[in-house]
């Protein structure tokens, strides 16, 4: 999976959990919380949707890795690749 594909996975999840947010101009380097109205309940949902849809586990102490789209891609892409490699 490319990093751009990974960012799209995260954006797709946010679009489902927060359909009232405009995601057309999300800056990948800026913290999601600083450009979208997402609270801790929403971040928990991002983590749980990653698990439900893609089988990706994000331990609680690593939640901050999901702060921005760029950090999501850095953190999640190897996890996606590892899963793909297993199959």
């Amino acid at each position: 999976m490319t990093k751009d594909e990974c960012k799209q996975v995260v954006l797709d999840i946010i679009a489902d959990i927060a359909p009232d947010e405009d995601l057309s101009n999300v800056k990948p380097e800026v913290r999601l919380r600083d450009q979208l109205q997402l609270d801790s309940m929403d971040f928990l949902d991002i983590v749980m949707e990653l698990r439900k849809r893609h089988g990706i586990e994000v331990p609680e102490k690593e939640y901050q890795q999901l702060a921005s789209l760029d950090s999501c891609a850095e953190y999640l892409t190897p996890k996606f690749d590892a899963l793909a490699g297993k199959n």
Binding site: P19, D20, Q37
Partner: protein, 476 residues
Amino acid sequence: MNTRSHYDVVIIGAGMSGLAAGIRLAHFGKKVCIFERHNAVGGLNSFYSIAGRKFDVGLHAMTNFVRPGVKGTPLGKLLRQLRIDRDEFALCEQKQSRIAFGPRGETSLRFTNDFVVFEGEVAAMFPAQADGFRKLVAAVRTFDDVSLEAAPISAREVVRRHISDLLLEDMLFCPLMYYGSATEHDMEFGQFVIMFKALFLEGFARPFEGVRVVLRVLLEKYRAAGGERRMKCGVQKIIAHAGRASAVLLDSGEEITADHVISSIGAPETERLVAASSSELPPAPRTLSFVETISILDRQPAELGWGSDTIIFFNDSSRFDYVRPTAQVDPRSGVICIPNNFDYGVGRVLPEGIFRVTCLANYDRWAILPEADYQADKLRWFTGVLRSARRFLPPLASDDALAAATLTTDMFTPRTITKFTGHFGGAIYGAAVKHRQGRTDLGNLYLCGTDQGFLGIVGAMLSGISMANYHILQKG
């Protein structure tokens, strides 16, 4: 084949909080079953039919209404968490509501879903209090009301730091207490904040078809997520083993095992299921309960001159006494609801007029009555409650105009509430003591709903959501 069923989570009660918890858990792949003793969902916010006519119970209005685009409020959180599109509820806003105090409602504060209207009314009616009121509002806005760990403080105490006029103080408390307080005289400040935001800073709305729209949406989400539901299937006992709830015993005698149990039926009611002492009831707390009269009219209330007010909170006495009355009913104060007076859009009106009045009531005084006396007293109080409420509405063309327009009536009492919901003492807002974290003596048994302490319909659903997240989903 193993005849015993096992679930990841068993939920007791298919009210708003149980359904919301169920949707969350089922959505994230938990095997969930909701057990409901009654044949209808909704619990304290439900509906019933008599002769083909549907009556709402509970819901006067959905509180916490904000318009699309307003974010970070309970309604928005609820919609996101349950993956509900706000169009599914199709909420219609109130026209206006009032707090009317004095023998004929001489002092009146109007409020709408635009807070500036209420601010203006307070400033005009209580000019010396305007500055204090602004400070109180600022304190409400900055208070962290979703913390599950906040220490309790008296709302009266906090309000008196800013408001020195007792009449205004009582007028502020009246709607907040009537729409959510399980405690007499005073509220915990966190609860005051939740209710102040829900009623005044946010507002009232209603789906055209009332509470059943909300329930239909919840049921559909729950079903689509794979949740199971068993109706007319009460839980008679929670079986405890080594500090944990290991199974629930159904009324039918069937035993269901579960990793987690969420109970929405109330804290003392849940305790009784654990103790399962079928005879011993816990000592009766001074539970607050209510009566409500419902009049179905052959015309729109506007035709009687009652077209502008959606909800009226009234009190005729020098002080507002939010206490369990010693008599069967305390008609001095109450709430009038006219569901026709929401703005359903041009030319869209409810097919019949509806006029509801709620007053405080004493459970014990109703519970002990033999059936014949019960029916007679209901009739007597029906008239008394209506007579009291009419003082706060525009006068009718003739004294019998309301009776002449009435097609049918119904009334519920504290006894009705206990009969259909199982809540001790006819409780609507639960026990006085709240369990914010939803913990019980058993490690995997949690509370949601009225005794967890988030209030109102939106609060009930958020309670189910929070407890499912906090105790089960966050833990993987």
